[in-house]
């Protein structure tokens, strides 16, 4: 047994075993995704860029119930609303989503009773300016303006 160990040590058996693994990997296929050219599969449940849904008339679905703001751990959502004097309903006046603070936990999406706020599968959210991360309602409906990778 001792002799066998010694022989394998002198013949670098342990090292050659490792070398063969790396060599095998070299001739095998790489797993890299070349990001801007290839994009990996994004699963449906992915929590990415927030969007506000609109109904068929192009008006916001939001009923200004404020549940999302109350269920946000970081308080990144601000909902401003006033009561319509005719229909006595709460009408949304301003909706602000501060993406710098967002944790992407998905609580707002879960709690929304009308499926208005949604976290989409878009994940490219970089901006040059901090103020571009504070999204107003119209930006949330269209999706934020993206900086396109140019080459």
């Amino acid at each position: 047994m001792r002799m066998k160990e010694l022989v394998s040590k002198v013949l670098f058996v342990d090292l050659i075993k490792g070398l063969s693994v790396t060599f095998k990997s070299m001739v095998s296929h790489a797993v890299t995704e070349q990001y801007p050219k290839e994009r990996s599969k994004i699963y449906e449940r992915f929590r990415g860029e927030p969007r506000m849904a609109v109904d068929e008339n192009g008006k916001t679905k939001c009923i200004a119930c404020n549940l999302c703001a109350m269920n946000c751990p970081v308080g990144c959502i601000t909902v401003e609303a006033e009561r319509d004097p005719e229909t006595k309903k709460r009408v949304l006046t301003r909706y602000v989503f501060d993406m710098q603070r967002c944790l992407f936990c998905g609580f707002c999406e879960e709690i929304c009773p009308v499926n208005c706020i949604q976290l989409t599968t878009d994940y490219e959210m970089s901006q040059y300016d901090r103020k571009d991360f504070v999204l107003e309602l119209n930006e949330l409906e269209k999706g934020m303006e993206k900086i396109k990778y140019k080459k």
């Binding site: 490792g18 790396t22 790489a30 797993v31």
Partner: protein
């Protein structure tokens, strides 16, 4: 006059070739290690990233040059230059091709009767640049890195020198060209009769060039960057190039001394078919083989610790090299008698 012209042209060609080789060795390293790690390596600059080394070089040149305020400025500037200079000076003595190579002009800049000694000597001066850089930075990580590198280089130089003695004894000369000629005459490359010396030389060579698994002087996980932690921009590039040039040097020596330099493998079988290939191609192939093994090793092995490294150098490699030398000389003596 013509002699001088030929030499100057040869120097220019070899310098240009080596510089390009060094630049593309970094590319090769990134590609080979990348594929070994199931990645792709550089892909963006040029076709499959072929222009990457040039882009890197440009980037390093135009980067801000920082000299730490608390450093010894003159020495800080001098250190990478020393390192770089000696790494490239060595190529004076390396035969890329035989005396008839390079279309009759001789495939080397100069053939001195103690060429191998000069190569080892000049290469050993390069360490001055490393320790000077570490010291001049006046910072702790570079200091530790340079101390490590000196201890490492000095101790591995001994074993390395003794390992090369075996082939020298067989060739009976210190001239690089004569060593190759001796291999031609003997009909077998020296790595066969000198297999122990070959392995010792290769291990020492890896250690001499601060490559993994002996890359302690610049171990980034321990000493951040070792002796060149404080260097940036062009000065860092000089260190970087020196390291890769040293890799090529060590591989070239190994190819010359142990693998028959510019000689063709199996001349009796392949000779009639492949004789049109010039010698420096064979030489380049052999060097490439060693470089590939370098990269392969780097991708595979963990790093030794400092005391273990010293123990290997002094307690295993040195006695083995001495034993190899003794056995070789006894055999030669016996054959002569």
């Amino acid at each position: 006059m013509e002699f001088l012209l030929v030499v100057v042209v040869k120097i220019v060609i070899i310098l240009a070739f080596i510089s390009l080789g060094v630049a593309y060795l970094t590319y090769l390293e990134r590609k080979v290690i990348g594929h070994m790690q199931v990645r792709l390596g550089p892909m963006r600059v040029g076709w499959h990233g072929l222009l990457q080394p040039i882009a890197d070089g440009l980037k390093l040149v135009i980067k801000e040059d920082i000299i730490p305020t608390q450093s010894d400025k003159l020495m800080f500037i001098l250190a990478p230059v020393i390192c770089f200079l000696h790494a490239f000076l060595v190529y004076t003595f390396i035969p890329f091709d035989g005396p008839k190579g390079f279309w009759g002009y001789g495939g080397y800049i100069s053939d001195v009767n103690v060429g191998l000694l000069f190569i080892v000597a000049i290469a050993s001066v390069g360490v001055v640049g490393i320790i000077l850089g570490g010291w001049a930075s006046n910072s702790k990580y570079p200091l530790l890195g340079s101390l490590r590198s000196v201890a490492q280089l000095v101790s591995y130089e001994v074993a390395m020198g003794l390992a090369i003695m075996g082939p020298i004894l067989l060739a009976g000369s210190l001239s690089m060209v004569d060593i190759v000629k001796a291999q031609e005459k003997m009909g077998v490359w020296f790595f066969v009769p000198q297999i122990v010396a070959f392995i010792i030389y290769f291990i020492c060579g890896v250690a001499e060039t601060n490559r993994a698994p002996f890359d302690l002087p610049e171990a980034e996980s321990e000493l951040v960057g070792g002796y060149h932690t404080e260097y940036s921009g062009f000065r860092f590039a000089l260190y970087f190039l020196a390291e890769y040039a040293n890799m090529i040097t060590v591989s070239a020596i190994a190819a010359t001394v142990f693998l028959g330099g510019w000689l063709m493998p199996f001349p009796s079988i392949l000779g009639p078919y492949l004789s049109f290939i010039p010698g420096f191609v064979w030489f380049a192939l052999k060097v490439f083989f060693f470089l590939f093994v370098y990269l392969w090793i780097r991708a595979t092995f963990p790093r030794y610790r400092f005391d273990q490294l010293m123990a290997i150098g002094w307690k295993i490699l040195l006695p083995l090299a001495i034993a190899n030398l003794l056995v070789t000389s006894f055999i030669i003596l016996y054959l002569k008698m």
